[in-house]
Amino acid sequence: MATIAHYPHTEHRLDNGLRVVISEDHLAPVVAVNVWYDVGSRHEVLGRTGFAHLFEHLMFQGSANVGRGEHFALINAAGGTLNGTTWCDRTNYFETLPSHHLATGLWLEADRMGGLLDALDQPNLDNQREVVKNEKRQTRDNQPYGSWLEQVHSSCYPAGHPYHHTTIGSMEDLDAASLEDARAFYSTWYAPDNAVLSVVGDVDPATVLEQVQRFFGGIPPKGGFPTPPSTDIAPRLGREVRRTVTDRVPVPRIFVAYRTAPFGTHEFDVMQVANIVLGGGRGSRLYKALVLDRQLLQPSEGSAIDSWPFVGGATLTIADLAAREGVDVDQLEEAYHHEVARLAAGVTRDEIERAHAVITSDWLHHLSGVDGRADTFSQFATLLGDPGLINDVLPRWLAVGADEVAEVAGQVLAPTNRAVITFLPDAEDEQEAAA
């Protein structure tokens, strides 16, 4: 068993409320700058789904002292890489830089945290609206099984619940987004007292703190953040939900989603281990029974089952099962449910040992780069209030035993707590294939 790595760090809070996490790592002359804003698609209002993500795009279009297109250009010219992402609970922005260019990264983040409104205009909004609509077409509408995410969200959360809609939103709502919406969204949520900044890498913490103070210290806090829409929901679905989607897809594929206690809870931690026993890796139950022995399931790169890290109400655990060619989809589904039921009936010590080894390596891998580590510090600080959890979660996972996995899997992966979404090839395609 590998030794458990410890990631030292310090935490600070500027007078304007900005939380700062700094962690040294001098193995390579690089540094990661990572900002999480505590706003995501669950904060969106009715009729404006997809707005948090559209807004993320606007954050790359310039700010008070940064011209259009300059944000990317300045980071690239420094030899750095960058991006941003949006999900239900948060929006993050990040760059990795050669460490001597740290100040450029901090300056750019500060300028858009405090000065975006100066650059926000209708042409930028219209352009990025089209880009985002094409992102939706490329990643969803023009892809086989492309609606699976929407199906999962809408079948597990009732209409009106903040997790009912996906982060990409709807075309109609994207079309309706106005410059006024963008100004209001920024003025409401984008503020130092609603953000976490993590800096990880080849840096001197005292110097970092000085620079952070210099660049971010003058940005006024906003305070008075509105109470986000409530994510309260029953911890379980309470019944089985079934949907069939007939579409232009090559083979049947089943998604099974279960409501699960949120990120940060003990149940969530147990499910991390249970997912590996059931579907993570070539030594997992699903791989052995469905891929190797019965050859019903297509093997996949990642785990066949995963839990999402949502913090509101209930999160989801989702299995992704693509059928082998010619396999009857009902047979695949039945075989899958059988393996799930067997898990609740008992887990061996060998299986737990394998799961512990896998989860340890996966975690080391996830944190091996300064970028992944900075993002994890920000995640824990933003969602759970404590970046130090980065050092606590692995011991928690390793304390999860066989009995507990069986017990919790029995509760979470229960027939009355699942949404089964089945994609089937449409009849026209089948006829063509038969012809």
């Binding site: 390579a28 750095g80 094409n134 490329q138 070539r282």
Partner: protein, 451 residues
Amino acid sequence: MTLITDRPSPSDPRPWTFPAFERREVAGGRVITAHLPGRPLAVTSLVVDAGASSEPLGQAGVAELVARALSEGTAARDAYGFGVAGERLGASWRASTDWDSLRCGFEVPVGELAAATDLLAEAVRDAAFADETLKRVRDERLDEISIELSQPAARAGAAFAAEVFADSSRYGRSEAGDEGTISALANDDIRAFRSARLRRSLATLVVVGDLDGADVEALGRSVFDGWDDSAEGSVVPDVAVRAAGRRVVIVDRPGSVQSMLMVGHDGPPRKVEDYVAMTTMSMILGGMFSSRLNMKIREEKGYSYGAFGGYDTRKHGGMFLARSAVQSEVTAPALADIVAEIERMHAGGVEPDELEQARAYRAGVFPISFAGTAPVASGLADVVTHGFADDHFDALRARVLTVTKAELDASARTRLRPDDLVTVVVGDAEVIEADVAGLGLGPVTVVPDED
């Protein structure tokens, strides 16, 4: 509100070089190691001159099947047993092929490096390749292909390669094979490729990580000792192109809300003399966010989520390719813009500030690209595959910093060939065909989608 208006200057850079590595011979095999202190994970990996380019014509995909079958059971244990053995070490197995190599091995907690290397040796030396295993691996690959081809980008990529290269060229078929070639493979074909190409003389063991306390000689012996070593040479593939001149292939996918566009032609191999100039030029054209293609197609027109272009350089040849997925309604104007940017670069070369930006990015990003164990191992695998010198990455970085506008402009004139552009569109022919035909991109062929 107080924002700092002055742009910060960088502090003094910490010098960076590619991690030092060592080559040695152990038990008749080549071993290459890099010591990266302080990393909890290590990589142990075998790089073999057994890539797709070395496949017999008509057996496209056999190398990939060999790579996959290595972890599907050995003389000592079945597929499940092999999987469990690695995972109990916390080791994750990866096996893959590209045009010029087969790569397989583990990322593993450094304390289990020796055990993982033993397992790697077991896979490459003693994999059973039983009939039922090979049948399953082949059938799984065929299923995977049907899913891949349902994705527009993969469908376009296959059509593009087939249109650019001649039927006699391996480059005309997908890197990991297609339905036709794979379903035709007999179990003995798979075994024959394995015994022809998985040999000590064609293999190199790459080990990267915190090697304090690691017995590298023992790792080498574990893999190479007693491995059959009858010599087998390198294979030089046929890289003939199908034709000269512009032409268009539309793969008809009714109801598509986007068109997947690919535009390009064949290109030179990795060791071409103007490699740095050519690839820096293509970065400006389509290899970074601020590239001409992305700025035009995405940031100016909003036609797409992104547009890219660049060279795929293999050991014996390659291709130039620009691509973007665009809203169906703007297929023709987007194609016109892409071709116009290629023509503009060909005729006029780059601007000094573009070169400055590309050079700074490309040289500056080295420390980030190679900050971890796995990327360093992958870099060393490239050194092995292409026969690069020990100072390869440092020399490459230095060359990037000195390459001139004149050199880029010359590469643009010779390495971009607007008159030979092959255009592939996967989209709804009824909506786009007439407009595309009017663009002057050559004769248009519409083919039905095959799934």
